[in-house]
Amino acid sequence: MIDATPTRAMRGGGDLAFYLWTALGLAIFPFLFRLPIFNGYNGLATQILIVGIAAIGFNLLLGYAGQLSYGHAAFFGLGAYAAGLSVLRFFPGAHSFGLAVIFGVFIATVAAFIIGSLVVRLYGIYFALLTVAFAQMVFFVVFQWRDLTKGDDGLQSIATPAINLGFAKFDLTQTLPSLALGPFGDLSEVRLWYIFAAIVMFGVLAFVRTLVRSQFGEVLDAIRENEERSIFVGFDPRRYKLAAFVISGALCGLAGALRALYDGSAAIATLTVDQSGAFVIYTVVGGVGTIFGPLVGTGVIMWLENIVSAKTGAWRLIEGVIFVLVIVFLPNGLIGTILKRKFNLFATLRGKK
């Protein structure tokens, strides 16, 4: 299958190395991105990180629990709307940023729990179709509840409130002080938003890595590899799948909340099948069942989209072609293929093959 998940044996690498490289990567990313070959800009880098959180969440379900959902936009969108409503209506005031994020994650998590409880009893195509059905129902409710959500127009004018830590306030729209960096642009192109998103992304990556190597992750692996055997050594697959579903929904909700706060608006498009499909594409291209895969996939696709859409209207076609090519020729995705090569190389060097 598109089963890229490296076995436990492949997961080498120390914790410290991971944290250092990840922090370094996140720190230099916006500057690399500015190089003429990439022609990116800081705002796009921030968006990639935010949406990447959702893809990572989605991957938890597909790559580790082994279930394909085509309805995860529901949690992304609910997170966005909840955060927006939190700022505009429910919890405005001094701590509205933090409360918006918390509220967004909360709503998405509750939804994921309700939907998850009903969905995890199914498999394969039935599972996927039921997730679509529920996502469409969420779309319908949000769309029709015009009083609350403004229907088609979505929520607008959500000001990014500042992060209020009591002793300090951070206005995320502020930039860093100016410092020319040659081909890497100027330091002042980096907004605090990026730094905030990078911190959150670091936390998410660290969390997912820990989870995957944990006792919980170990059992999830086992269930994905042989569910029957797992049942008959005494594990309860349904509860594990539900837990994975809820965590993945929560992460999508977090991404949605940040998205709404970043954009200053919550759009109905965040709840569509197209959006769910986008998470699928990002994750598959990047590498299902790898930690960095979904982030890389999000980056590559969103970056390409930025470049190609400016030149031609055929972006969606190109995206579809890339997706199919990856599935057929690189089923492990970009990162998955690299990891497998690395693993095979090590195994050969160690004389195991």
Partner: protein, 257 residues
């Protein structure tokens, strides 16, 4: 005499109109080594599936240690101490032998679900203990770093047994444990089963008559989904009813030994 550990009353399973099992009254005492035999299609594997929880019965009850487990699910039965090794070795092919058994031990220690998203299972010392013991008993300790999918057929079946053992069962169900094995492997497995039978109750489905006659405390014969006869190996060997049933499939020599 030891008490009854497992009992079924009127147990039956229908698939559509076909009755795979019907009216089965079955009693096993703790510590017994009970063989379940019968011609092909007699319903032996279905019976084991009912006992282990792979399928739920259409009629009848199953009592384990005095407790009604008729509608209990698979994980629940494993926790209660009913473990099964499958006819086709059911293992995690991409994991090492050690990891295969550790997973079963982990289930034993942590329960059916634990939201331990931060801690690694290596911290649970008892898990390694249980796993090592299980591996030692089936004598697979030398192969612990081998990928389970790469094992020989016989080794896979022994791994399956090790996995079952790691759940610390009181009753072990073995479905054709020596099927497809060489003579050597069969004899080794037979010795293993005898050893295990000394510590726990063992139910075994087999076609290898010689082995069955040699090691069993008692034998239940199934035929067309029902219990045909039950008794000591000597009694079963001499039973005309059993021989008639088998003449449909095997020759008398196979039963007589």
């Amino acid at each position: 005499m030891s008490e009854t550990i497992l009992e079924t009353k009127g147990l039956g399973k229908r698939f559509g109109h076909f009755a795979a099992n019907a009216d089965i009254d079955f009693v096993v005492r703790a510590g017994e080594l009970r063989a379940v035999i019968g011609p092909n299609g007699a319903g032996k594997t279905t019976f084991f599936n009912l006992l282990s929880g792979i399928t739920l019965p259409s009629d009848g009850t199953i009592t384990y240690k005095g407790r009604d487990i008729t509608s209990a699910g698979g994980p629940a039965r494993v926790r209660l101490g009913i473990a099964k090794a499958f006819q086709t070795a059911n293992i995690y092919p991409d994991q090492t032998v050690a990891q295969n058994v550790r997973l079963a031990a982990l289930a034993r220690v942590q329960g059916s679900f634990a939201l331990q998203v931060f801690r690694r299972s290596g911290r649970l010392g008892k898990v390694d203990e249980i796993a090592e013991r299980a591996l030692d008993r089936v004598e697979l300790a030398a192969l612990i770093h081998t990928r389970a999918g790469d094992l020989s057929h016989g080794d896979k079946k022994r791994l399956d047994i090790a996995i079952a053992l790691a759940t610390e069962p009181d009753i072990l169900l073995l479905d054709e444990p020596v099927a497809g094995m060489s003579i050597d492997e069969s004899r080794r497995t037979e010795l293993l089963i005898k050893k295990l039978a000394a510590e726990m109750t063992v139910l075994i489905i087999e076609h290898d008559m010689e082995m069955i006659m040699g090691i069993s405390d008692s034998i239940t014969v199934l035929h067309q989904g029902k219990v045909l006869a039950s008794g000591t190996p000597t009694a079963i060997r001499a039973s005309k009813v059993v021989q008639d049933a088998y003449l449909g499939g095997h020759s008398e020599a196979e039963i007589g030994g």
